[in-house]
Protein backbone atom coordinates (compact mmCIF):
# COMPACT_ATOMS: atom_id res chain seq x y z
CA UNK A 1 0.00 0.00 0.00
CA UNK A 2 1.28 3.50 -0.85
CA UNK A 3 2.30 5.99 1.82
CA UNK A 4 -0.34 8.49 2.80
CA UNK A 5 1.67 11.66 2.30
CA UNK A 6 -1.52 13.76 2.16
CA UNK A 7 -2.30 12.89 5.76
CA UNK A 8 1.25 13.57 6.84
CA UNK A 9 1.26 16.96 5.09
CA UNK A 10 -2.14 17.93 6.54
CA UNK A 11 -1.02 16.98 10.05
CA UNK A 12 2.23 18.93 9.69
CA UNK A 13 0.33 21.95 8.30
CA UNK A 14 -1.89 21.86 11.37
CA UNK A 15 1.25 21.77 13.55
CA UNK A 16 0.29 18.49 15.19
CA UNK A 17 2.56 15.63 16.16
CA UNK A 18 1.52 12.02 15.54
CA UNK A 19 0.88 11.64 19.27
CA UNK A 20 -1.38 14.71 19.37
CA UNK A 21 -3.39 13.50 16.38
CA UNK A 22 -3.62 10.03 17.89
CA UNK A 23 -4.89 11.44 21.20
CA UNK A 24 -7.41 13.62 19.37
CA UNK A 25 -8.95 10.69 17.50
CA UNK A 26 -8.55 8.14 20.30
CA UNK A 27 -6.01 5.72 18.83
CA UNK A 28 -2.37 4.93 19.55
CA UNK A 29 0.52 6.78 17.93
CA UNK A 30 1.56 3.54 16.24
CA UNK A 31 -1.77 3.44 14.42
CA UNK A 32 -1.22 6.93 12.98
CA UNK A 33 2.31 5.87 12.01
CA UNK A 34 0.90 2.76 10.29
CA UNK A 35 -1.70 4.82 8.37
CA UNK A 36 0.91 7.36 7.22
CA UNK A 37 3.26 4.57 6.14
CA UNK A 38 0.43 2.83 4.31
CA UNK A 39 0.75 -0.28 6.47
CA UNK A 40 -2.81 -0.04 7.78
CA UNK A 41 -6.06 0.73 6.02
CA UNK A 42 -8.26 2.58 8.56
CA UNK A 43 -12.02 2.19 8.84
CA UNK A 44 -14.25 4.93 7.44
CA UNK A 45 -15.15 5.89 11.02
CA UNK A 46 -11.51 6.60 11.86
CA UNK A 47 -10.95 8.38 8.52
CA UNK A 48 -13.87 10.71 9.29
CA UNK A 49 -12.52 11.41 12.77
CA UNK A 50 -9.08 12.26 11.37
CA UNK A 51 -10.64 14.53 8.73
CA UNK A 52 -12.67 16.35 11.37
CA UNK A 53 -9.61 16.97 13.55
CA UNK A 54 -7.49 18.15 10.61
CA UNK A 55 -10.29 20.18 9.03
CA UNK A 56 -10.16 18.28 5.74
CA UNK A 57 -12.54 16.14 3.71
CA UNK A 58 -12.23 12.43 2.98
CA UNK A 59 -11.35 13.32 -0.61
CA UNK A 60 -8.51 15.56 0.56
CA UNK A 61 -6.84 12.88 2.66
CA UNK A 62 -7.94 9.44 1.58
CA UNK A 63 -8.80 9.63 -2.10
CA UNK A 64 -5.92 8.15 -4.11
CA UNK A 65 -3.86 10.59 -6.16
CA UNK A 66 -3.10 10.18 -9.87
CA UNK A 67 0.02 8.09 -9.30
CA UNK A 68 -1.74 5.79 -6.82
CA UNK A 69 -4.75 5.37 -9.13
CA UNK A 70 -2.38 4.38 -11.90
CA UNK A 71 -0.78 1.74 -9.66
CA UNK A 72 -4.20 0.38 -8.64
CA UNK A 73 -5.40 0.12 -12.25
CA UNK A 74 -2.11 -1.56 -13.28
CA UNK A 75 -2.56 -4.11 -10.52
CA UNK A 76 -6.13 -4.77 -11.61
CA UNK A 77 -4.97 -5.29 -15.20
CA UNK A 78 -2.50 -7.94 -14.02
Amino acid sequence: MAKNLLLKAARAAKGMTQQELADAVGVTRQTIVAIEKGDYNPTVKLCVQICRVLGKTLNDLFWPGDQEEKEVSENEMQ
Binding site: T17, G26, T28, T31, E36
Partner: protein
Protein backbone atom coordinates in the same frame (compact mmCIF):
# COMPACT_ATOMS: atom_id res chain seq x y z
CA UNK B 1 -15.47 -4.92 27.96
CA UNK B 2 -12.71 -2.91 29.51
CA UNK B 3 -9.93 -4.42 27.42
CA UNK B 4 -11.74 -3.44 24.22
CA UNK B 5 -11.82 0.20 25.17
CA UNK B 6 -8.04 0.25 25.67
CA UNK B 7 -7.20 -1.07 22.21
CA UNK B 8 -7.84 0.82 19.02
CA UNK B 9 -9.18 -0.76 15.81
CA UNK B 10 -5.74 -1.67 14.42
CA UNK B 11 -4.70 -3.28 17.70
CA UNK B 12 -7.95 -5.26 17.92
CA UNK B 13 -7.28 -6.60 14.43
CA UNK B 14 -3.73 -7.54 15.36
CA UNK B 15 -4.84 -9.12 18.62
CA UNK B 16 -7.10 -11.39 16.59
CA UNK B 17 -4.15 -12.36 14.38
CA UNK B 18 -2.05 -13.15 17.45
CA UNK B 19 -4.77 -15.40 18.89
CA UNK B 20 -5.08 -17.09 15.51
CA UNK B 21 -1.35 -17.86 15.48
CA UNK B 22 -1.60 -19.17 19.04
CA UNK B 23 -4.52 -21.44 18.13
CA UNK B 24 -2.72 -22.80 15.06
CA UNK B 25 0.42 -23.54 17.10
CA UNK B 26 -1.70 -25.15 19.84
CA UNK B 27 -3.41 -27.51 17.39
CA UNK B 28 -0.12 -28.30 15.66
CA UNK B 29 1.59 -29.16 18.94
CA UNK B 30 -1.39 -31.21 20.17
CA UNK B 31 -1.47 -33.19 16.93
CA UNK B 32 2.28 -33.76 17.04
CA UNK B 33 2.04 -34.88 20.66
CA UNK B 34 -0.83 -37.23 19.85
CA UNK B 35 1.19 -38.70 16.99
CA UNK B 36 4.20 -39.20 19.24
CA UNK B 37 2.02 -40.85 21.89
CA UNK B 38 0.64 -43.18 19.23
CA UNK B 39 4.22 -44.16 18.43
CA UNK B 40 4.81 -44.60 22.21
CA UNK B 41 7.37 -41.80 22.25
CA UNK B 42 7.40 -39.87 25.52
CA UNK B 43 9.40 -36.65 25.16
CA UNK B 44 8.83 -35.20 28.65
CA UNK B 45 8.21 -36.71 32.07
CA UNK B 46 4.72 -36.73 33.61
CA UNK B 47 2.52 -33.73 32.95
CA UNK B 48 5.40 -31.71 31.50
CA UNK B 49 4.45 -32.52 27.91
CA UNK B 50 1.15 -30.70 28.38
CA UNK B 51 2.63 -27.91 30.49
CA UNK B 52 5.31 -27.18 27.89
CA UNK B 53 2.77 -27.18 25.05
CA UNK B 54 0.61 -24.66 26.91
CA UNK B 55 3.65 -22.54 27.75
CA UNK B 56 4.85 -22.54 24.16
CA UNK B 57 1.48 -21.11 23.06
CA UNK B 58 1.47 -18.54 25.89
CA UNK B 59 5.03 -17.53 25.00
CA UNK B 60 4.13 -17.08 21.33
CA UNK B 61 1.08 -14.93 22.12
CA UNK B 62 2.79 -12.78 24.76
CA UNK B 63 5.87 -12.45 22.55
CA UNK B 64 3.79 -11.26 19.61
CA UNK B 65 1.89 -8.86 21.86
CA UNK B 66 5.20 -7.32 22.94
CA UNK B 67 6.58 -7.09 19.40
CA UNK B 68 3.36 -5.56 18.02
CA UNK B 69 2.93 -3.33 21.08
CA UNK B 70 -0.51 -4.65 21.96
CA UNK B 71 -1.22 -4.64 25.65
CA UNK B 72 -4.79 -5.87 26.19
CA UNK B 73 -4.54 -5.30 29.93
CA UNK B 74 -2.98 -1.85 29.63
CA UNK B 75 -0.15 -0.93 31.99
CA UNK B 76 -0.71 -4.13 33.97
CA UNK B 77 0.88 -6.05 31.12
CA UNK B 78 4.27 -4.49 31.92
CA UNK B 79 4.06 -5.96 35.41
CA UNK B 80 3.11 -9.37 33.98
CA UNK B 81 6.16 -9.42 31.67
CA UNK B 82 8.51 -8.36 34.46
CA UNK B 83 7.11 -10.72 37.12
CA UNK B 84 7.02 -13.74 34.81
CA UNK B 85 10.53 -12.89 33.60
CA UNK B 86 11.90 -12.78 37.14
CA UNK B 87 10.05 -16.01 37.98
CA UNK B 88 11.60 -17.54 34.85
CA UNK B 89 15.09 -16.53 35.96
CA UNK B 90 14.56 -18.26 39.34
CA UNK B 91 13.01 -21.34 37.71
CA UNK B 92 15.85 -21.64 35.22
CA UNK B 93 18.49 -21.01 37.91
CA UNK B 94 17.09 -23.68 40.25
CA UNK B 95 16.82 -26.21 37.40
CA UNK B 96 20.31 -25.38 36.18
CA UNK B 97 21.66 -25.81 39.70
CA UNK B 98 20.00 -29.23 39.96
CA UNK B 99 21.40 -30.26 36.59
CA UNK B 100 24.91 -29.05 37.37
CA UNK B 101 24.85 -30.62 40.83
CA UNK B 102 24.06 -33.91 39.15
CA UNK B 103 20.81 -34.48 41.05
CA UNK B 104 18.93 -35.14 37.84
CA UNK B 105 20.04 -35.30 34.22
CA UNK B 106 18.48 -33.08 31.51
CA UNK B 107 17.00 -36.09 29.74
CA UNK B 108 16.80 -39.84 30.25
CA UNK B 109 16.28 -42.08 27.22
CA UNK B 110 15.32 -39.07 25.07
CA UNK B 111 12.72 -38.04 27.62
CA UNK B 112 13.03 -34.68 29.36
CA UNK B 113 13.27 -35.02 33.13
CA UNK B 114 11.38 -32.68 35.45
CA UNK B 115 14.46 -30.47 35.84
CA UNK B 116 15.03 -30.40 32.09
CA UNK B 117 11.42 -29.44 31.41
CA UNK B 118 11.51 -26.77 34.12
CA UNK B 119 14.67 -25.36 32.57
CA UNK B 120 12.92 -25.12 29.21
CA UNK B 121 9.90 -23.40 30.78
CA UNK B 122 12.19 -20.97 32.62
CA UNK B 123 14.05 -20.27 29.37
CA UNK B 124 10.77 -19.45 27.61
CA UNK B 125 9.79 -17.09 30.42
CA UNK B 126 13.18 -15.34 30.36
CA UNK B 127 13.01 -15.09 26.57
CA UNK B 128 9.65 -13.30 26.87
CA UNK B 129 11.14 -10.76 29.26
CA UNK B 130 14.07 -10.23 26.89
CA UNK B 131 11.70 -9.68 23.93
CA UNK B 132 9.67 -7.18 25.99
CA UNK B 133 12.75 -5.25 27.18
CA UNK B 134 14.35 -5.42 23.71
CA UNK B 135 11.23 -3.97 22.11
CA UNK B 136 11.06 -1.13 24.65
CA UNK B 137 14.74 -0.29 24.10
CA UNK B 138 14.50 -0.44 20.30
CA UNK B 139 11.47 1.87 20.35
CA UNK B 140 13.42 4.63 22.08
CA UNK B 141 14.28 7.24 19.50
CA UNK B 142 11.99 5.68 16.92
CA UNK B 143 9.42 8.39 17.63
CA UNK B 144 11.54 11.09 15.93
CA UNK B 145 12.19 8.73 13.03
CA UNK B 146 8.43 8.20 12.56
CA UNK B 147 7.68 11.91 12.68
CA UNK B 148 10.23 12.68 9.95
Amino acid sequence: MKCNSQLDERQLLQRGNVFQHGLILFFALLLTNAFLKEEEIVWAAGMWENILIVWAVIALCLGEFAVREIYPMGGGMNVIYIVEGIAGVFLAAVSLFELLAGREPFAVDRTLTESGARLLQGAMMVLLLLVFVGKKVSDRGRRDEDEA
